[in-house]
């Protein structure tokens, strides 16, 4: 089948999509956007988190056909050219990135959190990121990064 949707502001089409393909597979293997990651492909780890019409979802749990005509924003669409989004910048600065496989999903999820909540408490950060597994960091530096990104965003606005 043919699937057409908007990705990071651009209209993209994929042909010969098998009905069982996930949005994640189409992004990674058909649209050249492998930033969203394939750590569990069953909705447990959050590494494939993308925005679908502005709501974070696990791209592995969305059938490609369900994205038809909709707006998808992936980790590749957060930076403004070479200018990183404050969340991305804070992840690098705070040491929240080790192997980095969880990073794209966490960055999208954290981006959504601080869009919704200007100055999230630690409890709110933990709740918002509870669906994103990280095996390297023990999450301490991730908390640091989200706090920093939120503070910078608040200071800038």
């Amino acid at each position: 089948m043919r699937v057409t949707f908007t990705v990071n502001g651009r209209r993209e089409t994929a042909d010969d999509v098998w009905e069982g393909e996930s949005l994640l597979y189409v992004l990674r293997e058909r649209m050249g956007l492998p930033g969203s990651k394939n750590a569990c492909e069953q909705g447990e780890c959050g590494s494939c988190t993308v925005y679908l019409d502005g709501t974070p979802v696990c791209a592995c749990l969305v059938a490609a056909g369900q994205a038809e005509g909709r707006e998808v924003r992936t980790v590749e669409g957060l930076a403004d050219g070479d200018r990183l989004d404050p969340v991305q910048e804070a992840f690098v600065e705070c040491g929240a990135v080790q192997c980095g496989f969880c990073t794209p999903g966490l960055v999208v999820q954290a981006h959504d959190l601080i869009e919704r909540v200007a100055q999230p408490s630690d409890a709110e950060i933990r709740e918002a990121l509870a669906g994103n597994l990280c095996r390297c960091t023990g999450y301490e530096k991730i908390l640091d990064a989200v706090r920093l990104a939120a503070a910078r965003k608040a200071a800038a606005s």
Binding site: E29, C45, P104, E127, R135, G138, Y139, K141
Partner: protein, 775 residues
């Protein structure tokens, strides 16, 4: 050479400044946060096929027949391969064991053992074709009893080489005589379940057939040269026809020491003449790599009334599953570190590693020392209670220190301020008491069903001693090539090694060392590949030490080359220039000050040097007594855990974890803290969550739905106290740091749960039913 994938590893410029001791940003960090870093599962090349692996559903069965004809006829399938298609040696294996079939024939020895391969135009096509492969099995009763495998000669053999992989004894003094003198005797039986590395990036990679009949392999591994030494004979190719490039590695933790898809993808690529990509899904990943050995341990300690240990009588039984993998060395670690960092005059340890049809086990962070640490630390708490001492004091009374003799007779030559570290851990302020007004603070969090009436707080301590670098006489070394030249008017250092960046931050450190040694700012890290000498494994907390040492040594050789050029340029003999150094982009003489800019000295010249770095040699362990200087470096971490336990619901919330660790020298605080945090988290996982549950040799929970690793809600705030007592033998005085916290956090948490509940808790992970007594 063949075509290069469109997404492939590339040179990474290390931005900014920062030498040894600073915390510059990761050179790969920006790529990773933008989703542009090329992990092994992201590789893509025109015309590539997808490989898939058919695995045994049975832990033990004879293979009576294999029929691939229907699968081969499936539209879109390019190849179906079995053991008959393995071009060279039919077995591979770590450490020259060569006991694991590339593809099973005659018999399968564990659930998930690979039997056949498919290459097809789409992963779903490959999966459907696999369902058409007909395997005739004669299913056999799996051999799953590790104790019988070790001690019952009538138990059937899993492997032609017998069921006992290694028995390593340690003998010190006279345990029987000491038993007669002991005033206090404590004993315990402890169990550790199977833990999984659960790295997030699944096993994956790309094999591209080359014009010379060889193959280019893009893979995620911990040790490229060791992979190559197994891949080449199995493919029947000389090593120079296999070009390996490290692709982005999504974590490792020991789980990538063994081969997974490397030979398989290469076989399919060579057969089809097309690039082949293999990516495991999470289910397959649970079968695609070895796990941490489960352990059964029996300990008996005798002591004086004031808590001084007189003897230790220890048996450690480790189940390695069907193939050897790293079992030999895991047993060596369990034996040599079987009583940890304590001075005990009479010791009898027997550590065994056996073959069974349970899941295969091998390397995981902590490597044999984790299992023993849970037992010996549990024993220390037991002894404290029996002697009426507190847990810190009993550890301090028996603590090793610089100059002490460990169980193997090895003398601790470097600082080991364990008693002081324990004191420091105890003196740290405790977290505030539980505030039950916010339900999220309770064990169980938002899922709590009570108001916390049954919640009790507990505090516990754990100490872990880990060997750093390879042990037991292995010639452990790393290689680095460093090149200095002027590019765009600026001196640039290019660092090239085969060392695997698996997330730990080695690429950051390599650049820091180059800056410190060469006085330049711009450093470029070449992708790791096998076009440079062996770097050894990203294991045993060894890469800062070994590849760090190699980069340091190669840089110093380059520096000498620059000095010689400077002397020639100045027209003066080198020995008249005084003590030279490279600082701030200049050649500097201690006596005469700045002599010249590095760029001016270099001009068009390129200075390139390759150096190997070897650590101090170690010895083997005596096969009868275990005696030997088998470790080159030892590292210590002390943990204090604070927990809240709902004793009615069996739920645990770890409230805080405080670590005191001696790292010798802080090379990069940000990365270091990340290592201690991450190691601590994996220890928490083993303490209260993580276990591969096995029944009759079959894995019951191969998914992240059922195999639980800590989330951000499970991890408490972590307080770190980092000490710098240098190891004079090591580069910059450093100590490997990634593993020790994985040892100590587990027993600390369990001790805290015991403190809260009064329960014995002899098995990890501790489950709710162990606390409520409902199992």
């Amino acid at each position: 050479m063949s075509a290069t994938p469109v997404r492939a590893p590339r040179d990474i410029a290390a931005p900014g400044t920062g030498g040894v001791g600073d915390s510059p940003l990761r050179p790969d960090g920006t790529l990773k946060v933008k989703g542009e870093f090329a992990y092994s599962s992201d590789l893509w090349i025109d015309g590539m096929l997808w490989g898939a692996t058919l695995r045994s559903p049975h832990p033990r069965a004879k293979i009576v027949s294999i029929d691939v004809s229907e699968a081969l006829a499936h539209p879109g399938v390019a190849a179906v391969l079995t053991h008959e298609d393995v071009p060279g040696r039919k077995h591979f294996g770590l450490d020259h064991t060569w006991d694991q079939p590339v593809l099973a024939f005659d018999e399968v020895r564990h659930q998930g053992e690979p039997i056949a391969l498919v290459a097809a135009d789409h992963p779903e096509t490959a999966r459907r074709a696999m369902e058409k492969i007909r395997i005739g099995y004669e299913v056999l009763e799996p051999l799953t009893d590790a104790r019988r495998a070790a001690f019952d000669p009538t138990y059937p053999q899993v492997q032609p080489r017998g069921n006992l992989a290694r028995h390593q004894p340690v003998r010190v003094g006279d345990v029987e005589a000491a038993k007669a003198r002991a005033e206090v005797v404590v004993s315990g039986e402890y169990q550790v379940g199977i833990q999984d590395q659960a790295f997030l990036g699944p096993e994956s990679g790309l094999a591209v057939p080359a014009e010379d009949g060889g193959v280019d392999l893009y893979v995620a591994t911990q040790w490229m040269h060791n992979d190559l030494a197994q891949i080449a004979p199995c493919l029947g190719l000389p090593e120079e026809k296999i070009r390996m490039t490290l692709s982005g590695v999504g974590g490792a933790f020991g789980g990538r020491e063994d081969l997974s898809m490397q030979i398989h993808a290469a076989m399919l690529a060579l057969r089809t003449g097309r690039p082949v990509k293999i990516v495991y899904n999470r289910y397959e990943s649970f079968f695609g790599h070895v796990h941490r050995h489960p352990a059964e341990m029996r300990y008996e300690y005798g002591a004086t009334k004031d808590g001084r240990i007189l003897y230790a009588d220890v048996e450690i039984l480790l189940d390695g599953g069907a193939y050897t993998s790293a079992t030999m060395n895991v047993v060596g670690n369990a034996a040599s570190l079987g009583v940890g960092p304590y001075v005990i005059p009479n010791i009898r340890i027997d550590a065994y590693g056996v073959y069974t049809n349970n899941p295969p086990c091998g390397a995981m962070r902590g490597f044999g020392a984790v299992q023993a640490c849970f037992a010996y630390e549990s024993m220390m708490d037991k002894l404290a209670e029996a002697c009426g001492l507190d847990p810190v004091t009993v550890r301090q009374v028996n603590a090793a220190s610089q100059g002490s003799e460990l169980a193997t007779g090895q003398v601790v030559w470097a600082p080991l301020p364990m008693a002081e570290m324990l004191q420091q851990a105890r003196d740290l302020p405790l977290p505030p008491p539980l505030d039950p007004s916010d339900i999220r603070n309770l064990p169980g969090g938002a899922s709590q069903t009570t108001h916390g009436e049954g919640v009790r707080r507990g505090v516990g301590y754990g100490v872990g001693l880990k060997n750093i670098c390879f042990s037991e006489g292995f010639d452990d070394y790393s290689t680095a090539r460093v090149r200095l030249e002027v590019i765009g008017g600026e001196a640039v250092a290019l660092v090239h090694t085969a060392a695997a960046e698996v997330g730990q931050g080695l690429v950051t450190l390599e650049a820091q060392i180059a800056r410190t040694e060469l006085g330049v700012e711009r450093v470029v890290i070449h992708p790791a590949d096998n076009q440079v000498g062996d770097a050894g494994s990203s294991s045993a907390s060894r890469q800062s030490y070994m590849t760090g040492g190699a980069v340091m040594t190669a840089c110093r050789a380059v520096r000498e080359g620059v000095f010689a050029l400077a002397a020639a340029k100045l027209g003066r003999p080198l020995d008249t220039l005084g003590d030279l150094s490279l600082v701030g982009g200049k050649v500097v003489s201690e006596s005469a000050g700045v002599l010249a800019a590095i760029e001016d000295v270099l001009g068009d010249a390129v200075v390139e040097e390759t150096r190997e770095y070897h650590h101090e040699p170690t010895t083997g362990m005596d096969p009868v007594t275990g005696r030997g200087d088998s470790h080159t470096q030892l590292a210590l971490c002390v943990h204090r855990a604070v927990v809240d336990v709902d004793v009615e619901l069996g739920l645990v919330k770890v409230v805080e974890l405080a670590a005191v660790q001696d790292v010798g020298k802080i090379l990069n605080r940000l990365s270091l803290e990340g290592q201690i945090h991450g190691g601590t988290a994996q220890g928490l996982g083993l303490a209260v969550m993580e276990e591969i549950v096995v029944a009759d040799g079959k894995v019951r929970n191969p998914s992240f739905t059922d195999y639980l690793i800590p989330t951000i809600l499970d991890m408490p705030p972590m307080r770190l106290e980092i000490l710098e007592n240098a190891d004079p033998r090591a580069p910059y005085g450093l100590r490997g740091a990634g593993e020790p916290p994985t040892l100590s956090s587990t027993p600390a948490i369990v001790a805290a749960i015991r403190d809260a509940t009064g329960l014995a808790l002899t098995r990890v992970p501790v489950r709710p039913e162990h606390i409520t007594g409902s199992s």
